[in-house]
Structure formats: C-alpha cells, structure tokens
C-alpha cells in the first residue's frame, strides 16, 4: 500500500509492503534490492583476473575453464541459497503466522506457526557480528506450560530491517494479536 524509505542495518534501502487482506489478516513483505550488476561484475572480474594471473605463470588452460565454472556455479549457489529476494510475514488472527522467504532463484521456504503455540511477538536486542541490533521475533510456548517461553523464532533474518521498520510491523501484529486473545 505505502512505501516509506526504510533501510536495513547496514544502510541499504529495503521496502516494506503492508497488505491488509481483512481486519484480522495482514501480510508484510520486506524486499531487498536486486543483485546489482556492478557487484556481479566485480566478483567475476576478480576471479577471472586471478585465474588469468595463475594461467600466465603456469600456462595451464584448465585454470581458465575452472574459473569460468567457479563463477557460474558460485552465482547459481548464491541466488539459490544466499540471496533472499523478499521475506513475508502473514499474520492471520485466530489461525496463526506464516513466515516465508523466497530466494532470488525462485526457491521458497515457508513455515507456519499455529496460534496455540504463539505466546507473543516482541522486539528484542541481540549481538550480531560486530553490531548490536534490534530484531523482531515470535515467542513460542509449550501448550502444557503456557507461562514459559519454550523457544524463539527470529523474523526477517536475512533482510534485517532497522528499528523504525520493525516497530511498524510490530504494532500492526499486536493489533491483530490483541483482537484474537
């Protein structure tokens, strides 16, 4: 519906798309920027130049074909396993939460958490690499002990949006959760 300018924790722009399907069903999609052509060029060129340097000294053509193979396979693995195009969070009151992330290659991983297992959705802080960041997570409970938190599912793990974006998602989620409890 609306696209404010949000960034992720390293300053790259991301976009948040909130879709309200009905009063108790909302979907949030966070899309990361596409793979930039420049970056692909830089990686490819550096691998090829390195291979050419090795070829120059060894005169072995297998190095060159190896380099081509490495870049191709590397790119395929990258778009299939690393590069996440967009992540979505679908909250349906009284039913549950569906979290899915789709990779640049089109592969999609979806998990569903039913409402009886969800204790709450909160924003928490964590140490990530050399930074301390905020992240949104779903607190799960064991139906047998409703007061304790049994485990935590972090959301938007690969796009890592900043706090202002998280707060927006958090507020809408809480609206729905509070309605159905």
């Amino acid at each position: 519906m609306e696209d404010e300018a949000f960034t992720d924790i390293s300053g790259k722009p991301i976009s948040l798309d909130c879709q309200s399907h009905s009063s108790f069903c909302r979907e949030f999609i966070i899309s990361s920027p596409k793979v930039s052509m420049g970056k692909v060029m830089v990686y490819t060129c550096s691998v090829w130049l390195l291979a050419y340097a090795v070829f120059f000294f060894t005169q072995n053509t297998a190095v060159l074909s190896g380099a081509i193979l490495v870049t191709l396979v590397g790119m395929m693995l990258h778009i299939h396993f690393v590069k996440v195009d967009h992540e979505s969070l679908l909250v349906i009151g009284s039913l549950g939460i569906q979290v899915s992330s789709s990779y640049a290659s089109g592969r999609e991983i979806t998990t569903f958490i039913e409402m009886s297992k969800i204790k709450d959705i909160v924003i928490n802080e964590a140490i990530y690499m050399h930074q301390i960041i905020y992240y949104l997570c779903v607190l799960l409970k064991d139906p047998s002990e409703p007061d304790a938190v049994s485990s935590v599912v972090p959301l938007f793990q690969s796009s890592k949006p900043r706090l202002n974006c998280l707060v927006k998602v958090y507020k809408s989620c809480q609206e729905i959760l509070s309605k159905c409890q």
């Binding site: 924003i123 802080e125 964590a126 140490i127």
Partner: protein, 484 residues
Amino acid sequence: MGQRRKVAAGNNPSSQRNSGVSAEAARVHSRKHNICMVSDFFYPNMGGVESHIYQLSQCLIEKGHKVVIVTHAYGRRKGVRYLTNGLKVYYLPLQVMYNQSTATTCFHSLPLMRCVFVRERITVVHAHSSFSAMAHDALFHAKTMGLNTVFTDHSLFGFADLSSVLTNKLLTVSLCDTNHIVCVSYTSKENTVLRAALDPEIVSVIPNAVDPTDFTPDPSQRQDDRITIVVISRLVYRKGIDLLGGIIPELCLKHPYLHFLIGGEGPKRIVLEEVREKYQLHDRVRLLGALEHKDVRGVLVQGHIFLNTSLTEAFCMAIVEGASCGLQVVSTRVGGIPEVLPEDLITLCEPTVRSLCAGLEAVIALQRSGNVPSPASIHARVRNLYTWRNVAERTEKVYDRVVGEQVLPLDRRLRRLRAHCGPVAGSIFAFVAVLDFLFLLLLQWLVPDGVMDLAVNATGPQQQWRQEKSNKNDCFVEDASRSF
C-alpha cells in the same frame, strides 16, 4: 559528537514533538548523564567490585541518570539483559583469558564498544578495577571516540616485583589522559598516584558502602557459653590465611571456650584443614565453604569477634559489615584499613601471628568481662558511615566535573602519552592510539553512526521502563514502540 546529535534528533520524532516540554526540562535534566560502567567483573561473578558497580548503578538510576553496564559474556549468559529498575547489562562475547579478565589486543573490542557507546548516547565512560583488561580497553576507545572517562581503582599494588612493575606501566599509560580517577581510600589514592604518576588533583576518594539494612545485629543468635571468632573472606594468600593458620592453634590451646567460624572458599583452604587435622580441632573450627551474599549476615550474627587478616586491602568492606552486625573487629593494620572505622570500634594489629594473637586476647578478655559496647550501639554508629546514596552523590559530583572537561584531541593525546609514559612505552602506545583512531575511522566508514539504531532508554530522563510485575520484557518492548 555534533553529527551524532543531529542524527538523534532526526531519528526520533518524539523528541521534536516534546521539544517544548524538553526545553523546560532541559534545565533540570542538564546535569543528567548517560553513564556506561565497564568492567570485566560483574554478576554472576561474585565479589566486591561486582556489588559496587551494581549498587552504585542502582543509586544513580534512582537519581535520574541513565546507566548501562558492559561486561564480558559469562558462559551462556551473553547478549543484552535487564536487571532491576531497567539497569541494562551488555554481556559482550569477548574471549576470557585469565581469572575472568578478557584478553586484550587493544583493538578487537572497539567495534562492539563503539556500538554500545553510540546507540546508548553515552557521555561518561566509567571503568572499574585495574585488573580488568576490558576496563582499560574501554578507556582507550572512549578517549579515541572523544568521550569523557572516569576510572575507579579498587585495589592496591606493590612496586617491587616484575608483574606489578608491568601493571603499573600499563596503568600509567591507561590513566595519563583519563579525566578523573576515583579511589576507595586515601591509602589507595596515594598508591595509585605513585603507581600511575598522576596529578593528585584529578584523583578523588569515594569509599565503598554497605547496605546497613542487610547487616543488623541479632545477639540472640550467639551462644553465650563460648566466644566465637568469625572470619569471612576468600581463602587466598592476599587475605592472610597463612596468618590465620598460625593463630588458630595458639589461641585454641590457651582458651578452651574459643570457637572459629570460617566462611569462604579458595586455594588456601587446605592450610586451615591441615591445622584442624593436626590439632584435632574439628568441633571448634568450622569451615563453612563458599557463602552466598545473603547468607553472610546469618553467619556474622553468630559471632562475638570479627577477624580480618588481610595482607593488602584498599578498603575492607568485610570489617564494616562485621561492625554493622555488632561484632568487635580485629584487623591487620594494612592499606586503607585504618581509615575505615573509628578507632574505638576496631583493634588494629601488625600482620604477624604474635601481634594478632595479642590483639585478639585483649578483645577476648574485654568480651569475657562484659566490658564491650552492645551490638545495637555499634550498629547505630556504623549505620550512617557508609551508604550507597552518599557514594552515588559523590560520584555524581565527579561526573558533573568531568563532563565540563575537554577530551584531549589526538595530537595532544599523543604528546601527553610521549611526555608521560617515557620515550619507549609512550611511543608504542602513541602508535597504538593512532592505529585505534584509524580503525575507528574505518568502522565509521563501514557502519556510519547514523545507520545504528539508537537504543530505547530504559533508565534516565526519558525512561521507558515501567514497573510491572508480569512479563517485564514484553512490557518494555511495548513501551518502546509507543514512544516512537
């Protein structure tokens, strides 16, 4: 700094909305600081420094300052935790090297420390304990980042042996451009000024404190047919446990009604066990092992006399706790101990077995004749001597003074290092300071200050922490979202 403030204003619409209110409040809040306490030693590790940091932070929060604590990760306890009243603790995953102190390379802790300082909008960095490598690192980085620094020294050092020569050199380097230093006693101040070649003007003395409500006397717990001597300390060399091992048989032979109650754990426990074995004193010398802080009072009130045999001590909390429970205190005359209690509440001896025995016998004679002040009267006198509120007030004054001071820019800092720490060490550390500065520039280029999210204030002037009994964490996060 200026750049960071601009970012803060831009990021936080609520600050603009409330600008009318905050301008008015600014006068009141102008002296409120954002304090970051850094030390390797914090709970769950137990000890004097740990409780000092905790109590001081709580009192500063009560006074309206914002306090966060930075320490290293303890086992599985890493990340961000909240303690009572929204006291935020960062357990940073840094490698522990020796004795709960982190390894230092001068650089590797900079990214995380910078992140904490920036996101919490820290104005004063307060490092604790000279044994803590992390504290020195934090001072070093804070100065590189242009923040005001305070250092509290909790211990005394020698000058003679190799290890203390090295530590003293490090301390000189670390403290030569620190804005202010706090010591816990005058003896400690003298010691620190000499060790680190400091200007005594920038060294303050603020003693430790005890919570008097935790240590109240209860004479009914005493057994009147005997005299019990209580010793509570870690059983290590520094605490003079070898002296204790000499005293026990001598006094037990002379006085058949004398009992010893010893709380604490450590490598010197074996000395006491040997003595107990050799002289068959199993019924009269009880070793209680490690005590939790809450159990200390229960042990103290069982005794008549509190004995402290420390060989070195900057400020002895244990004797204040003992006196607060109404015990007669016998202690060695070392370090800052003579300043701690009024003369008539303490018997001071030389750190030798003979002198300690003589002192103890005099007190035992007094105790037997009933010629001692009542526990309640001793407690009443000690109660108001050392309170944490008083400590916090005095520390606040130090902060007020420090924020007015200028942090040395890099060129003057380098000159100060070269001039103060000798040509060799000075040059080395000046080089390290330059590298640290370059590393900071690199980090600022990789992750600009503006990209870091500012942390929601749990304490301080714009605090979001509410006292709600049920699920504290959730309520904090909810409050956080409301303010934005």
